[in-house]
């Protein structure tokens, strides 16, 4: 009967490797008491401070093929953060990646019962590998406290093979056992725009919804779209200024997180991008290297060289050095342009010139040697356009804080909104001169230089954030989360998502859950 034993063994193996998940986790199915009540009002999007009931991630790195290591590392971090109440882990991955994930859980130094529990939360969704799991649908809640998934109707490209309808269908099917529903598609007026995507729609405590203004030129289009999830009261809506960003999504510049040091309903903080904070940190740590990827040190120079923003800053730093050299060396008969031309033809050689930087930055090939001082110089010198550009962004973020404070104060008068200035530097766009001489941000060109920390994922009391690439930024972010009673964990997203203009939040999707309120 050995053939029968083999068949049983094989079936068991297939079962455990393809669908370790067998039923909805108990804490979700039984609606544990620890799950908070749904917000009042008719807004239907939950802030990410609510418990995470499901997490979706793929293994399709942007432009680099399958990346099982990223997926496996992310899954481990989520499970570790969720501890005894793991969310459903929906993996739109290849079989190889799924096996790697299972194998790596087995190798974790935790007890067997926990491993089993974690593995039983995994489900391989039969959908193609695709990086951007955030954008083609969004999750909401209804009065019954059910999670409702809705597809973004306009999310259709014919440049890649990704079929958003098929993936959405499979994900909806996979969460059905937990009682999650599928709602009507999110429809748009006019042309499909980047703003009509999941990453641009977020929730804020107090029954607010956050929706960026990216590329949605007409107010009535913005209103029509947000009406579908923000509820009837126009006061529920907050328009986030995102139209200056190339991708243009809310999750690129802000994130709502828990604050365990405050009591309900004020137990939340808002992380907002801040070039000003970045400059402050750079100023206080000038001699340290700017770029820092502790787990992937060997990739440092490659990343410094192929990333558009880093090259851009490196060029600007070189120009500043060149200007300094010109000021020092220029003879009365040599014009600045002549000197620049000479330098260009001798391949930016500065032999014999000593500069005040720790490591020499001589050519574009030295970009990985940039120190915080180089970046600081670029951001504070009147000779570069990046100074004005980042100042204008800071103004935008300050205005956003004021807008949020006013709205929150009105609805939650007992709360003083707590903001975290998240160090972030932007490039790509320009400061445009208006007719009255004032400056404004150019539309749809801005990008974060380093993986932006606002683009992170909340699981229970842990924030899983992208490795920022700057040691001082990461240290600061960690300490700010700690102050609010939160743990932080970091994952390298540079190749997986940052190179494609997005980050961890854009590449994943978390579904949040609330318990229904009894009818009033």
């Amino acid at each position: 009967m050995s053939w029968l034993r083999n068949i049983v063994l094989l079936t068991t193996l297939v079962f455990f490797s393809e669908a370790a998940f067998s039923s909805c986790p108990d804490w979700i199915k039984n609606r544990a008491d620890t799950i908070p009540l749904c917000p009042k009002g008719d807004n239907t999007i939950l802030p990410e401070t609510f418990p995470t009931s499901a997490v979706i991630v793929s293994d399709g790195s942007t432009g680099w093929g399958i990346d099982s290591a990223f997926t496996s590392s992310f899954v481990n971090k989520v499970l570790n953060a969720s501890n005894d109440n793991p969310p459903l882990m929906l993996l739109t991955v290849s079989k190889g990646t799924f096996d790697t994930v299972v194998r790596n859980i087995d190798a974790l130094p935790v007890d067997i019962a926990k491993k089993q529990k974690w593995k039983s939360a995994l489900i391989r969704v039969p959908a193609p590998s695709y990086t951007w799991q955030q954008d083609y649908f969004e999750s909401f809640f209804n009065k019954k406290g059910e999670v409702v998934l809705r597809i973004v109707d306009s999310y259709k490209f014919n440049i890649n093979k990704f079929d958003s309808e098929k993936s959405f269908k499979e994900i909806s099917k996979a969460v059905r056992e937990c009682g999650f529903k599928t709602g009507s598609p999110l429809k748009n007026l006019g042309e499909p725009k980047g703003g009509y995507r999941g990453g641009n729609i977020e929730g804020l405590p107090g029954g607010f919804c956050l929706f960026g203004d990216d590329a949605i030129e007409k107010d009535k289009h913005w209103e029509f779209y947000s009406d579908q999830f923000c509820g009837k009261d126009p006061e529920n809506k907050i328009k986030v200024p995102t139209s200056w960003l190339s991708i243009g999504h809310t999750d690129e510049i802000m994130k709502v997180i828990k604050n365990n040091n405050k009591k309900e309903p004020c137990n939340f903080s808002i992380a907002i991008s801040s070039p000003k904070k970045a400059i402050e940190l750079l100023r206080n740590n000038q001699e340290k290297p700017f770029l820092f990827f502790p787990q992937n040190e060997e990739l440092l120079s490659t990343r410094a060289y192929y990333h558009r923003g880093i090259s851009h800053f490196c060029n600007a730093a070189l120009d500043l050095i060149e200007d300094e050299v010109i000021t020092e060396k220029k003879s009365p008969n040599t014009s600045k342009i002549d000197f620049k031309l000479i330098n260009f033809f001798i391949n930016r050689a500065y032999a014999g010139v000593t500069l005040s930087f720790a490591k020499p930055l001589k050519e574009l090939t030295d970009c990985h040697n940039m120190t915080n001082k180089h970046i600081l110089k670029v951001l504070t010198s009147n000779n570069t356009l990046l100074k004005k550009y980042n100042e204008l962004i800071q103004q935008k973020m300050d205005d956003l804080k004021k807008q949020l404070t006013a709205k929150l104060k009105k609805r939650l008068p007992s709360c003083t909104p707590d903001f975290i200035d998240v160090p972030d530097i932007f490039f790509g766009g320009q400061a445009i001169q208006k007719k009255d001489g004032t400056l404004e941000l150019s539309k749809r060109f801005g990008e974060s230089l380093l993986p932006n920390s606002t683009n992170s994922v909340s699981v229970d009391n842990t924030i899983i954030a992208p490795i920022s690439g700057s040691q001082i930024f990461e240290k600061y972010i960690k300490s700010e989360y700690k102050k609010r009673g939160l743990e932080s964990d970091f994952i390298d997203t540079f190749d997986y998502a940052h190179m494609g203009g997005g980050n961890l939040h854009c590449a994943t999707h978390t579904l949040h859950i609330c318990n229904p309120r009894s009818p009033e």
């Binding site: 980047g194 190339s246 494609g500």
Partner: protein
């Protein structure tokens, strides 16, 4: 080697040369004050032909390619091209005063048959749309790859 083979090799070689010098991207800009044509050829040379509507003369300026990225797998599938205009326009001209030193072109590829360009180039107006008239995706992807490889080679050679 017979004469036919020589002719064939010559033809392939000359076709390659011709193709290298023909634009792989070309787009037209029209705004209330300016008209312009921007192009990039197969050897990485950019060209900006620009005219202010009040002026009779148009200027043509070679642009240096500073970045070329195939971001088809990105959040918004696109091609990103950065140029540096350097010092080539007449120093005291309106063009020199009003153009940024860098010219940035993003070609959105929601629909590969309808690429859409947007260009950041003028100091006093928001980015314009750049109507794509030539777009050879295969060559662009190849060039982006080649260009990146060259940069990477330089980076690793330096270590």
């Amino acid at each position: 080697m017979n004469i036919n083979k020589i002719i064939l090799i010559f033809m392939i070689f000359s076709t390659k040369l011709i193709l290298a010098n023909t634009p792989i991207i070309k787009c037209n800009i029209k705004n209330p004050h300016w008209t312009a044509t921007l192009s990039l050829d197969g050897v990485g040379l950019g060209l900006l032909k620009v005219k202010h509507l009040k002026s009779k003369k148009d200027f043509t300026c070679p642009l240096g390619l500073t970045f070329l990225q195939d971001s088809l797998g990105g959040v918004s599938p696109s091609i990103i091209v950065d140029f540096n205009r350097g010092e080539c326009f007449p120093k005291s001209s309106l063009i020199s005063e009003e153009l940024f030193e860098t010219v940035n072109l993003i070609i959105e590829l929601r629909d590969k048959k309808k690429p859409r360009g947007r260009i950041q180039w003028l100091k006093k107006s928001q980015p314009d749309s750049c109507k794509i008239t030539k777009f050879r995706l295969t060559e662009i992807k190849l060039n982006a790859k080649r260009w990146l490889k060259q940069r990477l080679n330089r980076a690793t050679a330096n270590q």
